[in-house]
Symmetry: C2
């Protein structure tokens, strides 16, 4: 039986409304692999730069907890879970430096630093941020889009696994 | 004697306010070549995607005359001059087809079709538009930025030549 996945659930995987609409349109999927393949095609080849910027803007800044105004509670919960390693091992000085570099990064590129945070410490991500800061804006835009896709894939896998277990989004 | 060029004059060359501000900051220039070299560096390596989108949005759609709400009269005059070959040789059917394809292009990419129009006919530009329409959005974004830079270079050359002749922007 094909899983029913709504636009709001795709939005938790990736905060672009065009992406979510196109995933609904392409549904249902016969497997997780099929869903991820379609998601990659939509993200890299179909939605445009405005959709990318919308998806980036849905994330909390690395080193900060999701704000109460996050697009929805499930999205915030995923962000928190992905940064759990980072917060479990962080220091005040790492958080302070991340906060400062996030401002500098955003000033240069016009969007927040996007990185797949799962399993990474704040110190590792800070080092990535500094390394990526020297990139040309168009190069960095594409790197950020690839990081967003890694996040999206992890979230789609979680969504499928929760659905298979009969867990609803709000309980996971 | 170094030429004095104001932010409003750089905005006629390229409608991104970040670009114009950085050109003023990098002034004065010893030659046209120096100014174009700096403009290229600023456009491709310093300003971000938001600045690119702002610059694209300043142009009238190819096949349309600049609207009265153009950022300024000099910008509109440059757009008209660059499309003079196109309008001198156009046909109603080319204009109609361009208008339809412009809508389709904008829907896919989120910004208007940008092309250096100087010396090109509407039929040639329509053919370019159709060829570029199949591109991935990130690829097309960079092509549009390169076309914008060609336009910017022509306009900087015109600006320097007018200044050398003592022609003010409003009289050219």
């Amino acid at each position: 039986m094909a899983m029913m996945i709504g636009e709001d659930e795709w939005l938790v995987c990736c905060g672009s409304s065009d992406f979510a609409k196109l995933m609904v349109k392409a549904s249902p999927f016969s497997s997780l692999e099929a869903a991820i393949g379609t998601a990659r095609e939509i993200w890299f080849n179909e939605v445009n730069v405005t959709a990318w910027l919308e998806a980036f803007a849905a994330h909390p800044q690395i080193g900060k907890s999701p704000s109460p105004s996050s697009i929805n509670a499930d999205f915030a919960r995923r962000s928190e879970a992905e940064q759990s390693t980072a917060f479990a091992t962080t220091t005040n000085s790492a958080l302070q430096e991340l906060s400062e570099w996030n401002v500098i990064y955003r000033e240069k590129f016009g969007f927040i630093f996007i990185i797949c945070a799962s399993g990474r410490t704040h110190t590792e991500m800070l080092s990535e941020l500094k390394g990526r800061y020297v990139n040309r804006p168009i190069v960095e835009l594409e790197i950020a889009a690839k990081e967003q896709m890694k996040i999206t894939e992890l979230r789609i896998a979680k969504l499928f696994s929760d659905k298979a277990k009969g867990v609803s989004g709000t309980e996971s």
